[in-house]
Structure formats: structure tokens, C-alpha cells
Amino acid sequence: MANARMKDIRAFSGFGSIAVAGVLFLYLPILFLCVYSFNDGRSVSQWSGFSFRWYITVFGNSGIKAAAMNSLTIATIAASVSTVLALGAAMATVNRRFKGETLAYATLTFPLMVPEIVTAVASLVFFVSLGVRLGFSTILIAHIVFCIPFAYLPIRARLEGMDATLNAAAADLYASPIRAFWRITLPLLAPGLMSGWLLAFIISLDDFIITALVAGPGSTTLPLHIYGMLRLGITPEVNAISTMMLVGSIVLLAIAGVLGRSSKNS
């Protein structure tokens, strides 16, 4: 209290170096991973020249290709289905008062807080008790379910920011509720739907724990396959796959960014 003048925390000495150290801690391992994906040798820690050989190996590996294909298919379907379901949930819960409003919101977003292993075990027990054969379909169902809250949040945020009188204006101009939805609500929600879909897509593509439990013999996804490869020893092949996944997600993010900006500007 003696010195009442607040000092901006960013003015303390050492703040800059801590920040740089933090960024290095975050990105140095990823940078290493990328660099060593171009290593000519078998080692992931000893540089022996630049080459694309591990990328070529990846493309020649039918197991990786099958797993990647599975992952992309599951992520695409799961993201799409969960986005549609989340859109319905958002339409039903936003901008209207009803009994159990808070409960509905909590129920929809609670899975984000549940430890993933709990969801994974629950899903497994559920499928087994129903007698469903584990495989592609169980992975897909589980992914759709856990993607819903991720898709729901951006859609909800966008819907909350939408001017409610726009719907009144559409009705005033002779649009039925369905046509008002297609012509007004849906186009205005597009950026929210886009980010919801992308988030769900990335989360599905990336998932390991739930997938590991509900995947049956013979069905695998990219994260499961990579984990399997690591158990046989680390080669730069894994670096190459990871680098490609990284580039893929950066491209997706860039697309989302460009779409978001153009919809704001136009």
C-alpha cells in the first residue's frame, strides 16, 4: 500500500527472456521433429544429410495409408454429423428462455470436463453390453458423440451474437420459419459452423484414448498406428507422418482464417 502506483507486469526485468524461453519450450521439440523428418539416416538424433526418403517410405507403407484413410474418413463423417447435431442443440438452447435452460447447457458441455479415460471406458462398456462388434462403426459413433460439445460451443457463440430481430424481419417480409432459417440464419451462422466443424475434425483426427478402447482388431486410425510403430522403435518415418499432419492442420487453420476474414469483410 505504501507504493500505490501499479507497475505494469510487462515492465519487470526478465519478462522478455521468460517469454522467449516459453515459446522455445513449446516449439523447439516440434521444430526438431520436422527437421529430423528430412534426415537421411535411421537415427532421430544424429543428422546424416538431407533426403526425402522417409516421406517416400511413408507413401509406400500400406498400413499407414490405410490408417490415414480411416482417420480422415472418420474425422470427416464425425465432424459433419456432430456439427449438424450441435446446430440443432444450439438452435434449441440459445436466445430463448425455458425450464432447465442451465441444465441443458451443462449437459451439453459437461463431456469437455469429464476425464477422457472415463468416457473411453464408458463407451467400451456400453458397446460391449449391447453386444456390438468393435471396429470402424464403434470408433465412428464414439467420435460423433465426443465431438458434439466441441462443435456446439463456436456455433452457440455465433448464434448468441446474431441479431434476433433479423428473424423477425424475415418473417415480416413473408418468409416462413423454414425459409428464414435457410436464407438468413444459416448463412449468418456459416463462420460458426465452419469453426465448429474444423474443431471437431481436428479433435477426432487427434483422438487416441477413446479410439484405442473402442477400436476392434483390424480397425485402426493414424494415432493408433503411429503408437504401434513407436513400440517397434523410433524411426524418422514417424517424424515424416507427424510433419505431414502438422502441415495439414496449418493448412486447415489458414483456410478457416481466410474464410473468417472474407466473411467479415464482405
Partner: protein, 393 residues
């Protein structure tokens, strides 16, 4: 120029239906009823502790081709009434007819009514042209007709040069014009305007007042205009309905509302008024003597039925009182000036007489401008016998 454009285009008669309606309106002089509300009650959250009655016993008839204004302070229920006419709000009780058709249970999209919203509610992802075309497209009009009507509307509101812009790239006044064009494009029978000028600055507001009024005359569409700005209401309307606390206080022409207020509320809300407490002292046929606290007695011609000893309110406008330094023939006073405000074209005096305070506005210029007073002066008041309005409620 705006009007000329519309006249030229309506003369071409691209909309058959409108032409027929207009010509039949000219041959039949009988006044058509545009909207009729009877026995309207609106209660929000009925049978809960938060129950709130927004509108009470509203009976209202709006004539065809009328510029009708709903005027009242915020929270008086005027916007609720407009939303009920538009179909955005359901009535708790009562019926609502538009050109004879009972629309009480119809949703907004089934009513021959369009609305200009307070914040315009333009569709942000559509160009000006697409916004204006929206209503016609929803009605399933052929493409060629939509295009020609939209062009006509763009010309009508002088927005042709901005047809391909999106609402975000328009100024407030331009958005207002687009909202107006969008609501007029489907040729509604009734246009509802929810404080459309409140978001504009003063200069633009005054300009749009004239344009709106001209637009109403030219299109022959019945306008129902909601505002809390009494100046706006008086300047634009054919008739005004004053609302307060969910009740209709008075319906009449601007002159009637201003000159013949029927209640203290209307007298006080419309313009400025001195509300003086008075007691009926003597009644001699139509001539009634009132005693005003602190000011003396005055004889007025009065048509109201009064009793000796009755307490009433005399309402008199600040500009209808003349001040003089000497007691005239029927002068009241003396009163003491405690404040003088220079307004440019007039001087406003604030006076105190006993417990009452009064406001008097004297125009500057001409002969009356020669008289000037300073705070502290003792003055006498005079007014024409028909200037005060006797209010019993």
C-alpha cells in the same frame, strides 16, 4: 426529386394491383378502416409473480391512407402495440383487424404488413438490392417484376448508386432508407415504423421527417409510426394517439392534442405546459371564475361541467402568456421572475407566484420583443380567455 421519381414510376403502373386499389379509392370517398384493435389486453407472464400488464383496454381505429402516430414515453406500451399489429407479439385478449380481415392469430409472414425496425435489421450478408428484393422473392413474384420494383424502390429512396453495397458499408441515414425501401417494396397495406429516426442525428432526422411524410402521401400506404418524440409526432402525423402506462390517453389530430389536451398527462407530455391549480369560484352560465393560488382570479369561457368549489387544473402553454410591468384589464399576479434564459428567437422566463412556478416564453423581434425583464422583476400575466384549457383529470 424523390417524389418525382415515385410519381413517374407509379404512372407507369408496373404493379397492377396497386393501380386498381388507388383508382377505386379515388372513386369511393367513404373512409376505409386500415386497422382496428378492439378490447386489447396484453399481459406479460400472466399468472406468475412477474405478471405485467403492458396494454390495458385498447380500442383504436386507424383510417386508410393515414399517417398515424403512437406517442408516449418509454415503457408506455407503444412498441408492444406495434409488435402486436405486426404479429410479433400475441394478444392476451382482444381482436385485431387489418382492412377488415381478422389477423389476431396470424403469424407475421401471413399479414399484409411490413415493418421498419428501430435498428433497421437489414440482412448483413446481403447487398442493398438483395435486401430490398427479399420480401418480393418470398412472395414468389416473377424475377422480372422483382427487378423492376427493386429499381423503382432504389430510385425512390435515392439509393441506386449504393445498390451493390452491403449494409455495413452504409451510413445510418442510408441504412434507414434501405430499411424503408425494403419494407415498401412488397406494397404492404400497412407500414409499421418503430422509432425509425431515433438512431439518426438531428439534421438528418429533420430531413427524414419531411421525406417520410411526403412518401406516405405519395404511396397512399397507411403508416403507423411509433415515437417518443412529441415534436416528431406533431410535425408528421395526420392523427396521434398518446399512450401512458399501457392506456390510450387521447387520440386526435396534432392540433387537437396540442390545443385541447384532455388530461394533465397529455398537457404535460405534449410540448410544455404550465399546470396551475385552480378552484371554481363562481359560475355564471358559460363564464366561470377561477381562483388561482397566489395569482388572483380569472374569468374564462368554459364548456366543461363544473361545480363551485371544485378543484381543477388550468393548462396554459408558455407562449400563450404575455408579461407586462403593469396590471392590465384581466392581469394576474404579481409574480417574480427568478430566471431568464435567452433562446435566440425567444426569451424564456421562469416565474414564481406563491407556491407555483410558471414558464413564459416571449418571442423576440417585432413589437413584443421590445419588452424585456430581468430576474427579480415583478410582473403581471395576461392571456386570451380561450388560451387555458380546463382539466378535471
Amino acid at each position: 426529386m424523390v417524389i418525382a421519381a415515385f410519381r413517374r414510376n407509379t404512372a407507369l403502373g408496373s404493379d397492377e394491383q396497386v393501380r386498381v386499389e388507388r383508382s377505386s379509392g379515388e372513386t369511393a370517398p367513404a373512409i376505409q378502416i386500415a386497422a382496428e384493435v378492439t378490447g386489447l389486453q396484453k399481459i406479460y407472464n400472466p399468472s406468475t409473480p412477474q405478471a405485467f400488464q403492458a396494454l390495458k383496454d385498447i380500442n383504436l381505429t386507424i383510417r386508410s391512407n393515414e399517417f398515424f402516430t403512437l406517442l408516449g414515453p418509454s415503457g408506455c406500451g407503444k412498441t408492444t402495440l406495434l409488435r402486436i399489429l405486426g404479429g410479433f407479439e400475441a394478444m392476451t385478449e382482444g381482436t385485431c383487424r387489418i382492412f377488415g380481415q381478422d389477423v389476431s392469430l396470424l403469424p407475421p409472414e401471413a399479414r399484409p404488413v411490413n415493418t421498419v425496425f428501430q435498428q433497421y435489421a437489414l440482412f448483413p450478408h446481403m447487398t442493398v438490392r438483395r435486401n430490398i428484393a427479399f420480401g418480393l422473392e418470398m412472395l414468389g413474384r416473377p424475377k422480372s417484376e422483382v427487378a423492376s420494383v427493386v429499381d423503382r424502390m432504389l430510385a425512390l429512396v435515392s439509393m441506386t448508386d449504393y445498390a451493390d453495397r452491403k449494409p455495413d458499408h452504409l451510413s445510418g441515414g442510408q441504412r434507414q432508407r434501405v430499411a424503408l425501401a425494403r419494407a415498401l417494396a412488397p406494397q404492404p397495406k400497412l407500414l409499421l415504423l418503430d422509432e425509425p429516426l431515433s438512431a439518426l442525428d438531428l439534421k438528418l432526422r429533420q430531413k427524414m421527417r419531411l421525406e417520410l411524410k411526403a412518401l406516405q402521401r405519395e404511396t397512399g400506404i397507411t403508416f403507423i409510426f411509433v415515437t417518443h418524440d412529441q415534436e416528431e409526432a406533431l410535425a408528421m402525423s395526420d392523427r396521434v394517439a398518446v399512450l401512458s402506462d399501457g392506456r390510450l390517453q387521447q387520440v386526435g389530430t396534432p392540433e387537437e392534442i396540442y390545443e385541447q389536451p384532455q388530461s394533465r398527462f397529455v398537457a404535460d407530455f405534449i410540448g410544455e405546459s404550465n399546470l396551475l391549480c385552480a378552484t371554481v369560484n363562481r359560475i355564471d352560465g358559460a363564464l366561470v371564475e377561477f381562483r388561482l393560488a397566489g395569482l388572483g382570479s380569472v374569468n374564462l369561457n368554459c364548456s366543461e361541467i363544473l361545480q363551485v368549489g371544485q378543484e381543477v387544473t388550468l393548462s396554459i402553454r408558455p407562449e400563450r402568456i404575455a408579461l407586462s410591468a403593469v396590471r392590465g384589464q384581466c392581469g394576474l399576479g404579481p409574480a417574480v421572475i427568478f430566471d431568464r434564459t435567452y433562446l435566440g428567437n425567444a426569451v424564456e422566463y421562469h416565474l414564481r407566484a406563491g407556491e407555483q412556478t410558471l414558464t413564459v416564453r416571449s418571442p423576440r423581434g417585432g413589437l413584443r420583443g421590445l419588452q424585456d425583464f430581468a430576474p427579480g422583476d415583478s410582473v403581471f400575466l395576461a392571456f386570451e380567455p380561450n388560451a387555458p384549457k380546463v382539466l378535471t383529470t
